[in-house]
Amino acid sequence: MIKPIKKILVANRGEIAVRVIRACHDLGIVSVAICSDCDRTAYHARLADEWYHIGGSPSSESYLNQDRVMQAVKDSGADAVHPGYGFLAENATFAQRCVDEGITFIGPRPETIRGLGDKLVAREMAIKANLPVVPGTDMGADNPDEALAFAKKIGFPVLVKAAAGGGGKGMRVVESADLFQEALDSASREAKSAFGDGRVFIEKYLVRPRHVEIQILCDTHGNHLHLCERECSIQRRHQKVIEEAPSPIMTDELRERMGTAAVSIAREAGYVGAGTVEFLVDQNRSFYFLEVNTRLQVEHPVTELVTGVDLVKEQVAVAEGRELTLRQEDIRLNGHAIECRIYAEDPSGGFMPSTGTLEHYRLPAGPGVRVDSGVLVWSEIPIYYDPMIAKLCTWGRDRTEAIARMQRALSEYRISGVESTVGFHQVVLANKKFIAGDLSTGFLQEEYPDSNYRTFSPELAEDAAIAAAVDKLLNERRITISQSGNGRSRSSGWVRHHRRENVKRLGGKH
């Protein structure tokens, strides 16, 4: 029952759309990009074979709008849809609609997405498959008093989590009873806005746990594989920012048990395609089921780097009805990989999203470096979407080499026009605890309680002072050191006025 796919519409934007289009190029499958108003010349729209404009910039008018996406599917004659992550990736209704209209949805079956997408249902399924789970309850915003009572019973801190969605949205750690109501409300509101579903639930908050997840890959012929783990403990506001494979805490024995657990729930759920089973691992190496993500994860490249498996190509093969050619024994770890998510955010300004034009943009390259960038020089970073602009990955024979190469790659990255998290990553990767592999989901909060990610040596400060003096001197003498042929630069020194308004802050005078 193999149904070869000829044309894939990529129902996404940014780096993940670029990633899927690249897989289409590799497979010789025609790729179709969709774009919103502000994405007409975005990288994914340039890179694909075909281009369909589907609506306004707000995602509700474009990437989240099922009618418009399905219209583009029809207009382009695509026989399959790859949803990427986010937007419609875990929307069971959309997956069902594809199935109903005879379009191959590259992902799990709609009923699997619906079941596992509801964290409460997934929890039940995990218990049925004998997976250890964190103590919790499904009482949420509808029963604030009972929820509070339960929270008190299991003891603060507790975690308030949206039943739908993921990516840290609609999630709050609550330290004490008096902050409980506000967290419940705000998490529910955020979940409703992000996923259209305000249901939240309460879980015991483990102290200093590690986030370790298992990549699974299953076909329609009953084969269920796992591709080992990723550790994603470096998180900010429950958003993963640095991921790696393998996990520094992992042992062969633990990997075997966690892999087996992941495959168990995959079997229980009748899982098809690529997915991720997330766990928390405590300081005693006990692990607890967290949830299943029924999509390609942001951090899938680290698994690709250490296993050599192209996950998007495997997704397509499974969607075509092919049997996996890989067997569990073919999955061998080779070296170590790390991913840093590069966001258009200002780390020194509380990670506020930064919008603007990328006036200079230079990717790192060389040995062991993989960049999945969703933008190009001159790209506009729009305000409408997630501010991640690229994923920078490095591979090394061991973790030490991967970290050294990541530091080198970060130092080569040039991003002008918007703030970025490149400097933030440099600081974290130089952290001794990070280098020792001593991680937990609380790592950033513990190590950088005042969010001061800006560090530089006195020597570098002196050289920066000289640079400022040279610039001012040239400025005063009206000597142009900018390329004269380039009309964009001001003629005074090499300084230009930054586009953003100065971020004024409350000063010391108050």
Partner: protein, 170 residues
Amino acid sequence: MSRYSVTIDGHEFDIEMEYRSDHMVATVNGRERLVRVHKLQETRALLVIDHLSHEVDIQATGDGGRKIVFMQGTEIPVAIEDYNLAQMRKAAGIGSEEEVDTVFVAPMPGLIVEIKVAPGDTVTAGQPLVVVEAMKMENILKAKGTATVKAVRIAAGQSVEKGEPLIEFE
């Protein structure tokens, strides 16, 4: 010869700049350093300071002498002014311009979800002022110091641009 006072992260540098034949000499707190400048495109230059190679990008961040120097992958906030003016300012007991901001502006474009303060409130550092939704995330904007609210310039449900004034302090 030009002389500047440069402040970075609380450290002050007294820098005298002098032209020589094919380079410059920067005397930093009394120590001479040889500087070569090679222009690149846009706001960038290759600066060679005593043979140390730095690809530098400098951006002005507002009025006055505040700049961001980007080098070695790091953003370094710098304040620069004429040395003599800085001395006079200090002698007269006038603080730098940074200390007199009384307007709290939106650090990013977004939708105002909730306003947590009202005119007359006294806030302390870390206290939530406004909740803004941007890129599908709620961001809580917090006070950076102690101040009294004079006016709230926005309303919940309103969209704001980056740099738009949100709250005025006394």
